[in-house]
Subunit: 202 residues, 2 copies
DNA sequence: ACGACGATAACACAGGTGTGCTAAAAAGAG
DNA sequence: CTCTTTTTAGCACACCTGTGTTATCGTCGT
């Protein structure tokens, strides 16, 4: 029997190289050859795992999607000390790109979004947009629900609307951090999120 | 004397063709040839007005930037009837992509952002990011200030922080409209903005 | 040792790209 | 009409792209 490699792991490794290329040169710079060079293999080797580049791009975007949702799922196990608001804050900051790793992830994701929006109808990159969006929205929903159940929420609020408002705020902050990190600093994001959560309190 | 054409107008016309190509095929699809075909000229003609494609891209992005800021400036003349909150709402909805034209503009802008973020340091597309961002932030600032001066604002609010929070909310909503127009409808955006402005009232 | 087969590399081809250069066309002044 | 300058089209070159095909390498069970 010949050498056996874990295909899925190898594909993930190549996809991560794709991310780095996309972040460095934009999505247009992600050719089979450049990705192969970034990953440290020959173009032929890359094409063994991905017959065409469309499949490569799709896999890479899907992998981002899966990683993001995994991370959102993983933070269920976050430290549950302090007030409910403090806990909610900790959840949210897990999602906003405040360190360089998540910053890279968000910028890459932004490139994917821009590319996916050019495709009309479903069936390509566009299919990966919804799940990530949904994951973050569901997180916001469960946070709002938790605040509500803990009587940490003003009465008479529309919970669904508040979740969507929080969701938009979080994505907007993430975008601002990416575009103008000098102005929208992590500390500033912290302040704005605190202020927002406080306005939800009784 | 030879035929005289308005260079600036012709460049703008070509830049608008560039936008259409970017929106349809992504920024990678915007070559000198494709843009020329979209604009209805020969590649040579396009190259007469833009010596290289980097200049073309820069001009096109700068033109978006100028147009957006012009539009923000132009809505100073908006109808000033109703409560201050209603007026503020009308301003904000002038900025969020709720019709197909501004939707196209926003998607194109998103592609530019993604591409600009790949460039390290200043000097390229990245220079056009700040001004647009600033324009929208300043609009939010003046709206918050107007609400404050009109005693339509809760006491004790940090005006600068509220402007930034509103700014992030607006950009997040715009992003959500672009990514999931099915879920984030214009009517929903309207509701969320109203809810947000109401939380700022005394 | 050997052979079989998964994994990798290499090459070939047609097509698209940016851009430098050159020839043609158009249009008003004299 | 003719000349002059601006504007447009066209061609050529080297380079990069995706992908199909073919050959080589490495590793293991026998």
């Amino acid at each position: 029997m010949p050498k056996i490699v874990d295909h899925e792991a190898r594909r993930a490794e190549i996809a991560e190289a794709l991310w780095r290329v996309v972040r460095r040169d934009g999505i247009g710079g992600a050719s089979v050859r450049t990705v192969a060079a970034e990953a440290g293999w020959s173009p032929g080797a890359v094409r063994y795992y991905f017959p065409d580049q469309e499949g490569l791009l799709n896999f890479a975007m899907d992998l981002v999607s899966r990683r993001v949702r995994e991370r959102i799922g993983a933070i269920e196990a976050i430290e549950a000390t302090g007030t409910l608001t403090e806990i909610a804050l900790r959840y949210l900051e897990e999602v906003i790109p405040l360190d360089s790793e998540r910053e890279a992830e968000f910028e890459t994701w932004l490139s994917f979004i821009a590319q996916a929006l050019t495709e009309t109808g479903a069936g390509g990159l566009r299919d990966h947009l919804g799940p990530v969006q949904d994951g973050l929205l569901e997180l916001c929903q469960s946070l709002i629900t938790a605040l509500s159940d803990g009587n940490t929420l003003r009465a008479g609020l529309d919970l669904q609307l508040e979740a969507e408002r929080l969701h938009a705020l979080v994505d907007g902050l993430a975008l601002h951090v990416a575009v103008q990190p000098g102005r929208t600093t992590p500390a500033r994001v912290h302040q704005i999120l605190i202020a927002h959560l406080e306005t939800l309190q009784p």
